[in-house]
Symmetry: C2
Subunit: 334 residues, 2 copies
DNA sequence: CTGTTAGCGCATTCAT
DNA sequence: ATGAATGCGCTAACAG
């Protein structure tokens, strides 16, 4: 591998001069600069970022910890997309680390990013609890921001949306359409997001004077397939309902498949709604009513929090109802 | 930041000893080791990977260049997922670099990864031509593998599937179902993948004694929305067709939306098929007939090629027909 | 404007 | 088994 020294020798200058012409902070005589550039071209020299970063004690990179198994779905691919875009916008390289399947591994992923000397770290936690995250933040010097968790002790180190209230917004819409027998496909157990959405569902029902019927509740695990299974389960119970709300769009689409298989029409026979506003929802038939989670804004906020600590704190973005075709007025409504 | 020296001092040993207990290659007296570990715990020391990598001249990382704007779709999210999984399996960290919007920027992304001293680099090119890729491979010492391009001069540095023949396989199925008026929604212009699929479409038609009708061909740009527009365009032309083949699943779903809007039923009125076997296809209604592109296998091969150069070369995986519900026998068939 | 020197933090000789 | 010294490739004073 050709180093800066090789270039310096070939150009008949010192390493420092090569470094200078490369970094352009200090003036170098045009003639000398030309010789150096020439030597660089001839040797095919490429600065070693490792050495550079070590010398500067600065890496120009931000890390993102998420569970690899999740990259796949539309939700996380959108997250990675925005993370990469906004990192780039701030001149930083995005480094991904896999949180895998346990709190310990999520910690290790953070450690890896820390040892890589990322300037800042973002984490979309799956296993680490709020208390553990608080502790990690407190024991670390590098800026750390948690995505999708509310950290009461660290308001400037988290971005999130209020899932419960988003769900209540959705429920208000559903109830307004005359639905009262609304089934709910919950997210994975122990998922804070899932629990908040479930809580919103139950709260909205009670506010409307309706006691949640356990027969109308079934648990999925976020995947489309789990939504499909949940839909079948719901149908098999033979309890009446006119509307299904799934805790994310993927599961909603799974539910739709189960309905279609049972010969039901959407939205004429069953109304359906989800959460997240995945791209597919817009093109699905019928187009899926959902709650838009402002991923772009969340990630942008997260990156700015962590890269521009002096920036004014931003308010939590809110989920927004997106009315499309999959929810119709309830025909049985009196 | 606490360094190895701080730990050494606190433990009353030399830096070398700390390094040794950390790397475990050389024996260290248990008692001393314990003291060192103790000191590490007390100081919260975390080895600096930069320094470590520089000293070892080795980074344990592999780079992946793709166009950020593409992260979003199911195709690329699946790619990133598998890339991360297989890198991990080989103990390597995946680093993403954005190829952005031009050949120059794709080159820069490679350069970045090179300067980061990734051990190996994978690229899913969008703008760089085969000739340029050949040249890049020849001028570089670090292993480089190109995904989704056939490099005749570098058989061991590329993984790909034969899109034309995959398309012919699909067409054979469609023709077999009695369709003769088959519309085609092509991919983005100048996309080799798109062109190969288009060529397969036309070739299959000619082989069946049917002259491709330009009225049945419309160009999209891979996105669902472009598929939707293409579908509307097709319908607006008022030329008869019984089947639409889209160059990827996203566009197929866009076409489906256009059909539904026009009051057409799938597959009774129009058969529909796509490519890539995106997850959604399985749950779409009707479930989408498609060609499975073995992303998992491709990426695994790519990583092994580049990390285990002595491994025996693998044969190109083939796209496989996945028959589902969106294609029905042509009722007009004589 | 340019060369010299001294680190950045760690791994690895070579001695002991 | 452990310590001292050297170097990885580069940047940043410090001189001149």
């Amino acid at each position: 591998m050709v180093t800066i020294l090789d270039v310096a020798r070939l150009a008949g200058v010192s390493k420092a001069t090569v470094s200078r012409t490369l970094n352009g902070k200090v003036f170098v005589r045009e003639e000398v600069k030309a010789r150096v550039l020439q030597a660089i071209a001839e040797t095919g020299y490429r600065p070693n970022q490792l050495a550079r970063n070590l010398a500067n004690n600065k890496t120009n990179s931000v890390g993102l910890v998420i569970t690899n198994g999740l990259y796949n779905g539309p939700f996380f691919s959108s997250m990675i997309y925005h993370a990469a875009t906004h990192s780039e916008r701030h001149g930083r390289q995005l480094v991904l680390a896999d949180g895998k399947h346990s709190a310990r591994e999520e910690r290790e992923a953070i450690d890896l990013l820390l040892s890589l000397r990322c300037e800042a770290i973002m984490i979309y936690p799956k296993y680490l609890t709020v208390a553990e995250l608080d502790e990690i933040i407190e024991h670390n010097k590098t800026p750390l921001v948690v995505i999708n968790r509310e950290l009461e002790r660290h308001r400037s180190q988290c971005v999130f949306v209020d899932h419960q209230q988003s769900c209540e917004t959705m429920m208000a819409h559903l109830l307004e359409q005359g639905h009262t027998r609304i089934a709910f496909v919950a997210g994975a157990e122990a998922s804070p997001t899932g629990e908040r959405r479930l809580a919103g569902y139950q709260q909205a029902l009670r506010n409307a004077g309706i006691e949640p019927d356990p027969q109308l509740l079934v648990r999925g695990s976020w995947s489309t397939d789990s939504g499909y299974q949940a839909g079948r389960e719901l149908l098999a119970r033979k309890v009446p309902f006119t509307c299904v709300l799934a805790a994310n769009d993927d599961m909603a689409i799974g539910v739709a498949k189960a309905c279609y298989e049972a010969g039901l029409r959407l939205p004429q026979d069953i109304s359906l709604a989800g959460f997240d506003d995945a791209d597919i929802g817009k093109y699905y038939h019928p187009a899926l009513t959902t709650i838009h989670v402002p991923m772009d804004e969340m990630i942008r906020n997260a990156i700015e929090m962590v890269l521009l600590p002096e920036a004014s704190p931003v308010s939590a973005p809110r989920g927004e109802l997106v009315r499309r075709e999959s929810v119709a007025a309830c025909k049985n409504a009196h």
